[in-house]
Symmetry: C2
Subunit: 147 residues, 2 copies
DNA sequence: CTCTTATTTAGAATGCTTCTAATCTGATTG
DNA sequence: CAATCAGATTAGAAGCATTCTAAATAAGAG
């Protein structure tokens, strides 16, 4: 009986190459840790996760990475525009792999975030920002809870 | 020469009485600490401040209050609707004495918050919340920075 | 005034994040 | 391909805001 090489092997190779290029483009050395974390972050659609989430996910995936590196990497990815940081609650800070313009439902019961597509929503009547200041971005958080 | 009783004395008395009633209405015993903190919080218009801000303000005003009480009080006031908590940044958590519907500019350079009146701004195109959930409130944060 | 219960408090504990200094690795050069 | 060196990673310490704990204090009822 022939053991079929899983197709993920091929993907892993292709992805790893893409990720390497992506890191280089961001001015970051494609190290083992950064490639692994980028794989976890970007290989499964839009995600919202905390530093701790990513750390345990890496552990589960058998990637040995220190918590310090998790933080460094999340911040570097955020600075280079690969991630967006979402401040939703004094207690929880999420990193969002969807860097496009979009907004969130925030469930106060369990802390879950749900994307709201950017096209769906519109904010009107914004006053001018104070003199000498530019608008960086507009965040909308719709706080919801179980009825 | 007659020493005139400062008019603030009269106000202090009136305010203190009002505050006492307000605390009672919220189901909170009007203790020395809560009355003093309520005075600092509500006697000077709309304010955005952190626990640490209030603590040092109390110290400056000669009111002896522990930090634990500051936190307890801020949370109790928030639960009873006298304050609103504003999550704007992973690092800074503000309490807002303006509990009406309004939004904020957030200056990423220095962490300052500036009110945007609720009437000015409108959010349209909000999708329905997931089944069984109610919208609690919609927060808009306009992030600005120096040009 | 006494009793009961809520409140306050100092200080310890927690949790998340950043810092430090040492070690290691990726990339470049000879 | 070995040496080099700046950049990256790491364990653990440190930092900071917040919460917890257990004991002391103060408010309100009777």
């Amino acid at each position: 009986m022939v053991r079929v090489i899983p197709s993920t092997a091929k993907h892993a190779h292709r992805d790893s190459h893409d990720l390497t290029e992506r890191l280089r483009a961001a001015g970051l050395r494609p190290t083992r840790q950064r490639i692994a974390l980028a794989g976890l972050l970007f290989d499964q659609g839009d995600r919202h996760l905390t530093a701790e989430d990513l750390h345990s996910e890496a552990a589960r995936a058998g990637v040995k990475v220190s918590l310090a590196t998790i933080y460094n990497t999340l911040h570097q990815f955020t600075e280079s525009g690969m991630l967006k940081q979402v401040a939703v609650d004094a207690h929880r800070s999420y990193f969002d792999t969807n860097t496009g313009s979009h907004q969130h439902f925030y469930c106060e019961d369990d802390g879950a975030l749900i994307d709201i597509p950017g096209e769906a929503i519109a904010v009107s009547g914004l006053p001018m920002p104070p003199k000498g200041m530019d608008v960086e971005r507009v965040d909308v958080v719709v706080r919801i809870r179980k009825r």
